[in-house]
């Protein structure tokens, strides 16, 4: 519908003004920002007539654009990090962000684990660092309006390089502490060299009651024979509108795992754009979503098998309570030359209540004739027979439901190998279920 001129919404006008007033102060490369914003303004905020946003109408959901958050004071940042709860206690190198700004003081740059190199993005943008050329590893993601907005406004973040096998996980901790609505746009670039291995943890949290609007992007180039495990937790406040994008380009014979657990935000959309760029690579992209009340959670996924002999497994589980709405849009693309591709995508949803809704759209786009691609989607309520079985053994209904939900989500979580991390994620699930009971 690009040829229809639409009235600008207040949010679009506010974004345009925000860009006008910030463009001279935003760090670094003005050109790519201008380009991204130009692309964004051409179509504006995506709405339901835009196929990729059919189920998540951002034009309607993002009524007012919140102002971009300023740099927090050292004390504020410290207090915010102390109060942070998400995945606390996990042994990891913490790389913290408060209100979208990297808290430099919290990282001991002289004592980083071996094989880890960190460059603050604001600095890199201002100085024109070499690694900036590696941004946007997924060419076609540039067409995505959420990504365009991040590119326009990205002010802070880090660039991270991993060499060799790094044992200590890296925890990118995002905390929004402001009590009134703010927008943030962080960008993380992770360069995993050939044969390197790393576990990346991402957690996002913000206070309830404020309409925060985070839009964060994690970009990754994983080298040949690398091994990357990426675990993400969305524990945003109950009024937040959280947009996020993972762009990953994975080399040959590599192993790539990404898992996203969503319990937070009024509206969330997590986009994964992955390219399997070398032969014999194995990728597993999982997601688990638990929503209630009027929450809306969207998992969007595009996996391009750009090389032959790759294997990908996508498993997304959604639990819907109250009047919430779940969305899964997945697409596997197999171009002509990617023979012997093996792709399997599955989305399963459970509706726990009347009034919930699930929209599934598992797509395949196949041009190679010697491949195995499958997709599946199911949607329904908990099996009454199984519930009866548990209740017949003296387990109250709610508890029986919780057990079944745990088992259901467990199938997606169990691929998190790190035991502590696995347990921490299971604890999040249990908390959610306890609150329900």
């Amino acid at each position: 519908m690009a040829d229809v001129t639409l009235m600008k919404t207040p949010a679009e006008t506010a974004l345009a003004q925000a860009y006008e007033s910030a463009k001279t102060t935003l760090p670094g490369n003005v050109e790519s920002r201008a380009e991204a914003f130009e692309l964004f303004t051409r179509n504006g905020l995506p709405h339901r007539r835009v196929e990729e946003f059919k189920y998540t109408d951002l034009r309607a959901l993002l009524r007012e654009a919140a102002p971009f958050a300023g740099m927090p004071s050292a004390d504020d940042a410290k207090a915010a990090l102390q109060a942070a709860k998400a995945l606390k206690g996990t042994q990891a190198l913490e790389v913290p962000f408060v209100n979208g700004h990297f808290v430099r003081d919290a990282v001991d740059f002289h004592n980083l684990p071996e094989g880890i190199e960190i460059v603050p993005l604001a600095e890199a943008l201002a100085n024109g660092h070499d690694w900036l050329a590696k941004l946007s590893p997924v060419e076609w993601a540039r067409q995505n309006p959420v990504y365009q907005l991040n590119t326009t406004f990205m002010a802070d973040g880090v660039m991270l390089r991993v060499v060799g096998k790094v044992e200590t996980p890296v925890h990118l901790r995002f905390v929004t502490s402001a009590n009134s609505a703010v927008a943030t746009a962080t960008r993380i670039l992770v360069l995993v060299e050939d044969e390197a291995a790393v576990t990346l943890i991402e957690s996002h949290e913000s206070p309830n009651g404020a309409n925060h609007q985070p839009n964060d992007v994690l970009e990754m180039i994983a080298g040949d024979r690398s091994n990357v495990r990426h675990i993400r937790l969305n524990a945003e406040g109950d009024k937040a509108l959280a947009l996020s994008t993972l762009n990953a380009k994975v080399g040959a014979e590599a192993e790539f795992f990404s898992f996203n657990l969503v319990t937070g935000a009024a509206t969330s959309r997590h986009q994964v754009f992955a390219i399997l760029d070398g032969e014999n690579t194995k990728a597993r992209i999982n997601g688990a979503t638990m929503i209630k009340g009027g929450q809306h959670a969207d998992s969007t996924l595009v996996v391009e098998h750009a090389a032959p002999h790759c294997e990908s497994r996508e498993l997304f589980k959604t639990v819907i309570d109250g009047e919430s709405t779940g969305v899964f849009q997945g697409k596997i693309i197999v171009p002509h030359h990617a023979q012997k591709t093996d792709g399997r995508m599955m989305s399963a949803a459970i509706l726990l209540s009347e009034g919930g809704a699930m929209n599934n759209k598992p797509e395949l786009e196949i041009f190679a004739d010697d491949v195995q691609c499958a997709h599946g989607a199911t949607c329904g309520q908990l099996d009454e027979d199984l519930l009866f079985y548990l209740m017949a053994r003296g387990i109250p209904r709610k508890e029986a439901e919780s057990l079944m939900v745990q088992a259901f989500l467990g199938e997606a979580i169990e691929f998190v190998e790190d035991q502590d991390l696995h347990d921490a994620l299971v604890a999040v699930v249990e908390d959610w279920l306890r609150a329900r009971a």
Partner: protein, 490 residues
Amino acid sequence: MPAVQETIDQVRSIDVDQYKYGFETEVEMEKAPKGLSEDVIRFISAKKGEPEWMLQWRLDAYKRWLTMREPNWARVSYDKVDYNDIYYYAAPKKNPAPKSLDEVDPEILKTYEKLGIPLREQEILAGVEPQNRVAVDAVFDSVSVATTFKEELKKAGVIFMPISEAIREYPDLVKQYLGSVVPVTDNFFATLNSAVFTDGSFVYIPPGVRCPMELSTYFRINEKNTGQFERTLIIADKGSYVSYLEGCTAPKRDENQLHAAVVELIALDDAEIKYSTVQNWYPGDSEGRGGIYNFVTKRGDCRGKNSVITWTQVETGSAITWKYPSCILRGDNSRGEFYSIAVSNGKQQVDSGTKMIHLGKNTTSRIISKGIAAGKSDNTYRGLVSAHRKATGARNFTNCDSLLIGNECGAHTVPYIESKNATAVFEHEATTSKISEDQMFYCQQRGLSEEEATALIVNGFVKDVLQQLPMEFAVEAQKLISISLEGSVG
């Protein structure tokens, strides 16, 4: 795995350059002035001797159409149609409304003979077993040239006639149901059709009647520069049953011709409609020159409780296909089924699928779709399954498989699964591994390999449906039945 040789050979045997129905019939035709205008619509309406309300209906549709834009969301690309460069009406000059077969132009009769369509009742009786009789409505460009077994059907109370005749003879029935499933404003092509439709079939099965024979319509586009805009309306009243078949072919030409049909099915309480299509419009040559643009709106409304609508389609023709036979499951306990085999060759582009809209309680639907792409073609399955708030206990099972032959073609799957009711259970899968384990076990126990067993079970299932097509219509279908599922890519 890649497709097996047997499958490749079978698909090759129906490749675009093997098109058998590409001949042209020399008949003098009378046409409406070229292009589309109110005058042309008045011309068509007058030719059909329509009452004033029908003309008004058409004109309203035309006005609406002028404000609409051609949809572009389908995964097809083609040179846009110049809607003012088409003849919207073409009928044989000699006796356009023959009373009996003896009055029909012998050239036209020969055409149907060549196509293997029996128009003479006695021939049918002599040739085939009596229980396999089929009543045929033959539509040649813009008019119906013959309808067989009309009298016998009338005895059973069944009305089977060209729609233009029905508008004159049963205006109340037509008025009540026409446009009630596919509203005039539904979409660009349906609105165009509402303005200019020329002929098609009208079927009414009275309450409690099981239609004594198969009904069918055979569509033939013959004239150059024309479009065919047929309109079919089938009403199955309470407790009735009808099976309806449709076949279509066209001559080989370098130009693209437009076929924009609307089919409406209405099933009242406990009624069942089976609608089968063997679509073999000219697909264009191997370079993608010519061929029919098949932009069709087909929709069934399970209006009554316990009603059933089944769509079966075998799609091998057309340069571009844009077609989504759908079911609105309004009545409680109603059932919708969609079985499809779509084979694309050459440079054909297929974007087809179905919509199952669950509105009533305990409604069930089943979708089985098999897409096979060869040559440089693109084959897309696009389907929607939705359960609305009140569709308690809705149930859907979808299975769509695609097969690619060669690596210059593409297979795409775009399913939409939307559930707003917790008790609705939807399953969608695109693998062949989920066939009943009992059946698999049974077959494997008797020495079949897993692959053989899978093929046997799925094909057996499809065969069940296809075998109900009469032989005359099922030449292509029969060939396709034996295509194995080996090499299915999901």
